[in-house]
Symmetry: C2
Subunit: 367 residues, 2 copies
């Protein structure tokens, strides 16, 4: 695995060198982890012409935590009194180069000022979203982690469905799911688990409340595991009780059709906005255009919400090996609604088309 | 409660006006919540001469989430396409004032640049840690929230101690504690719960592993509830089995003495560093000076780690109504250790001295 990190760093270094920067300071945690294999709390990564250094503050426990970095990165643990690792990095960069690319979208104004003042002759350039862009297409090792994260998530959700749900609160069901993720080997939940019942169902990002599951409810769940830093997402909607109402079946079928259309649009070369439109036009044609979420899906990886965004105004086209969610939904105020959410990997048609990672059934289950 | 937020905003506005700023842009979430009573995800607060506006992006669910703000703050929900609320705030501020104070320690370089470019004639000044400093001394309503958070935490911990512990993993015990926090009315854990057994015990911020509790172990737990945004912290160390070993009793008594000394030093007017020294010198005199954490305690409130820091180099003195943790510990590599951690509120001696919020016993329990 170690080689992978070196290759990633070299690619970034080459790109920055071509733009005139001799050093690169990476501070956004997911980017540090992507390039160094680990991210102790508060650590920053300095790519220099001579060596790569991971600078991290001595933690309160005394040792650096957060995993072991790639062995070809020098680990420098700063004394408690040393202050900001970014400043230490700038000091180091000053001796080696003339120009340092920094992440202006992550570094605060105050840190930027401190970096400038410790190395006033160092020219600071903007790295922009170079690392985030590099992270969009995943290698097979990253996809393997996502696949395991999805397996864990499917298992946890499957077990929950076998238990009695009526009378339990949204909060308890969410905690129960998170416990089961850990049971099955997750490092943690990929994001705060959402469980929504009755009138809350179908709301994206609903924060679980003390409302209890009742007969006749829609129950929508959105959950995902973090496995070795890689995060997936699944969303399903169920009906509680023996037989769904007509409006529930109709709404479910509609969202299912929209989600399938977007899944089928996931091919290398497809425009992000066209994937979004595939789902959006089906929901809009049925009169639900107004309240729709601003996106139909998004990339996943070391963060749960990465590029690309599958949204009406998004620019760009899908590549192979990009994992994304497809998660349309409709929420009817006061009544509830349906969301169906999968994590898939974009694949060439010759390779079988989009690879579905979250395989829990999408039939409308009555529980 | 609504009046409280207005008073807080007026105090900040007056302070900034005296420093020459006609507007204030607050972006750090805990600061926004402190001043507006709510913080929808991504929201920023603009204090202007004419009105106060909470600008937030339309969430993916369609509605702003994160609680209802103070009614005298105008809520402005931006359309999905509007981009950064900080930029929208700058645009608004441009019409009303000449100088805008911003949080340079929170705003990124990229946002700062976007703010400057939309309002190029607006003079940007640094607000610094003005809001954080205002947050140090709590009012009685804030302390009441912390008191409830501590009660919930004591209950959750008490229940765990009545269950069978041997054979269970650190991860499971941590999840169990978090579930019980929610059961008792917490909005969530105040920070990731730490459970450490055997050789892991006594390590500050230990991340729970799959190690199981064994007979003869030290078991140290650090947990806290979030109640209405207010976060407390308790840490206790127990012995598993019928009778602790001599070294365990000795170490426990030592840490207990250090913790008591620091608790007793908590009085208005006491220097932060003197509270730290009260605990540190006892542990150092016993030969444990080397591996100690860089601080003995810290403020708590809307964030779990606030000012003041009770540390050797900290400048400043305690005021009444400042809630802090007192949490010395010793960890012996390979053997384990002891941490004892309370949340207390600094009070005048005439008012009975420090008010202990976390009341779980500090006797060495053999479980």
């Amino acid at each position: 695995m170690s080689e992978v990190y070196g290759v990633r760093r070299d690619r970034l270094r080459d790109r920055c060198a071509a733009a005139g920067s001799t050093g690169v300071l990476v501070s956004r945690p997911a980017n540090v982890r992507y390039l160094a294999g680990a991210v102790p709390p508060g650590a920053v990564l300095l790519l220099g012409p001579a060596e790569d250094v991971l600078l991290c503050p001595r933690t309160l426990a005394g040792d650096p935590a957060g995993g072991r970095p790639d062995e070809r990165v020098r680990l420098s643990v700063l004394p408690s009194s040393a202050g900001d690792p970014a400043v230490a990095a700038a000091e180091l960069a000053r001796t080696a180069g003339e120009s340092l690319a920094i992440e202006e979208h992550h570094l605060t104004v105050a840190r930027h000022r401190a970096v400038s003042s410790v190395a006033p002759r160092l020219r600071l350039a903007d790295l922009g979203l170079a690392v985030e862009q590099q992270r969009i297409v995943k290698d097979e090792e990253e996809i393997a982690c996502l696949r395991i994260a999805a397996e864990i998530t499917d298992q946890a959700l499957g077990e929950l469905l076998e238990s009695i749900l009526v009378g339990r609160t949204e909060r308890h069901l969410a905690l129960e799911l998170e416990r089961r993720l850990i049971d099955h080997g997750a490092d943690g939940p990929a994001f705060p688990t959402s469980v929504a019942t009755g009138p809350n169902s179908g709301r994206r990002g609903h924060h679980p409340t003390d409302r209890r599951v009742e007969e006749g409810d829609f129950l929508s769940v959105c959950v995902g595991a973090d496995y070795r830093g890689y995060r997936c997402e699944i969303g399903r909607t169920f009906v509680i009780g023996t037989s769904p109402a007509d409006w529930q079946i109709e709404l479910y079928d509609l969202v299912f059709a929209a989600q399938r259309a977007a899944r089928e649009a996931l091919l290398p070369g497809a425009a992000y906005r066209d994937v979004d439109r595939a789902a959006r036009q089906i929901l809009s044609a049925a009169g639900h255009g107004e309240g729709l979420a601003p996106l139909t899906g998004h990339g996943v990886g070391l963060e749960i919400d990465e590029d690309p965004q599958l949204a009406p105004a998004a620019m760009g086209k899908l590549d192979a090996c990009v994992p994304v969610t497809v998660e349309p939904g409709v929420h009817l105020p006061g009544r509830g609604g349906v969301r169906i959410d999968d994590t898939l990997v974009v694949r060439q048609e010759a390779d079988g088309g989009p690879e579905l990672l979250t395989i829990t059934t999408k039939e409308l289950l009555a529980l």
